[in-house]
Symmetry: C2
Subunit: 220 residues, 2 copies
């Protein structure tokens, strides 16, 4: 038996690296919006949501060997471009950036997990039902329903953020062959061999984005 | 039997409110220094420490009835003055502010818990051994040992921050009579009736501050 990591191990470790890095970014964005939240209840809600992102990250990291920083290292800086291109001009825009941008990244990881050789159950067990989105979504939905001008601005902002986030997908798949292989396997598992991988992924992520914006009460 | 909260309930709820608010502030400061940490390993270490602050907060809040925001509400804004007077000029100063300023607040709560009518066991069980300080302390100790100029600056900065933090003690006790009563009971429990409450508390907190700076390798 070889002591080299198997292809299966590499696929899981790479996916967990991206997902754990995404959750660390989600933690940071939610914690920042907690720190400058308009009231104590919102501050607490977003702090708790940030803590849940860390909890998901810890459960993800338990699926693989290696320290957190080592597992995430291949993705260090992977969101820097996205971050620079989506500099929010208000608190609500910053929160929506987290919900939309990191929602897309989380959805990408969930889609890719369908291609894992051992199946997606362990991965899905670790990330659960993504409760982070629910708390932040509720805060945004309340803000948007109370202010039509804000809602219109946020709808525009959401389109900009999702465009930048979807633009990351081909970059990530090209830079990390194990992720591209997972995408191909996930598409096969979904029995949708007709489409090539990237358009298939983007259509799945766009559909989920539309549902997410619906939950906030914003036009996608 | 009256349905009014007993003095004992009020003391515990007030102390938990201050302690929970302090942990929320610690979460925010650690998360902020995680977001702009110099490397991925430090970013992860401080995110985990921030998550531990939230964990302590949750365990504290379980000791009392009422939602998190309601229990903390009497202390909303209590740290604003401290925060404004200690605006850090570097990443390391920001982290030391969290370790020193919130360390003093955590120590204050632990000292006051000795005066709880039911004893300090439940409170001590909730906050544990304050591991938050350990992770951030290790990060600061490493930075200080590698750079004598930084260490000298941080020693000065620590004195400024602890001065502002200790200045909060009389303000908090005056604004919240249940805390003043806990202070008096804690001093009695320590069988140090000779000193009046505030000097006794300040001397205890100063001694703990000196030990904390020693652990970082900085002159107190």
């Amino acid at each position: 038996m070889s002591q080299q990591p198997s292809t299966s191990d590499t696929a899981l470790t790479t996916l967990v690296g991206l997902a754990a890095y995404t959750e660390l970014a989600a933690f940071g964005l939610l914690a920042s919006r907690s720190a400058d939240a308009p009231d104590l209840a919102t501050r607490q809600t977003l702090a708790t949501a940030a803590g849940e992102a860390l909890g998901r990250q810890q459960r993800l990291l338990h699926l693989v060997d290696g320290g957190a920083a080592a597992v995430m290292a291949p993705f260090d800086g992977a969101l820097a471009d996205f971050d620079a291109r989506t500099s929010p001009s208000s608190w609500a825009e910053g929160l929506l950036k987290g919900v939309v941008g990191l929602g897309v990244a989380q959805d990408l990881c969930r889609e890719l997990s369908q291609g894992l050789p051992g199946g997606a159950d362990a991965y899905r067990g670790a990330v659960g039902d993504l409760p982070m989105r629910d708390a932040a979504t509720a805060v945004l939905a309340e803000a948007a329903s109370a202010d039509a001008v804000l809602a219109a601005r946020l709808a525009l902002w959401g389109r900009r953020v999702v465009g930048e986030a979807l633009g990351l997908v081909p970059v990530l798949l090209a830079a990390h062959p194990p992720l591209a292989a997972l995408g191909a396997a996930a598409r096969e598992a979904a029995a949708e061999q007709g489409a090539s991988v990237q358009p298939w992924l983007v259509s799945r992520l766009t559909a989920e984005h539309t549902r997410r914006m619906d939950r906030i009460g914003l036009a996608a």
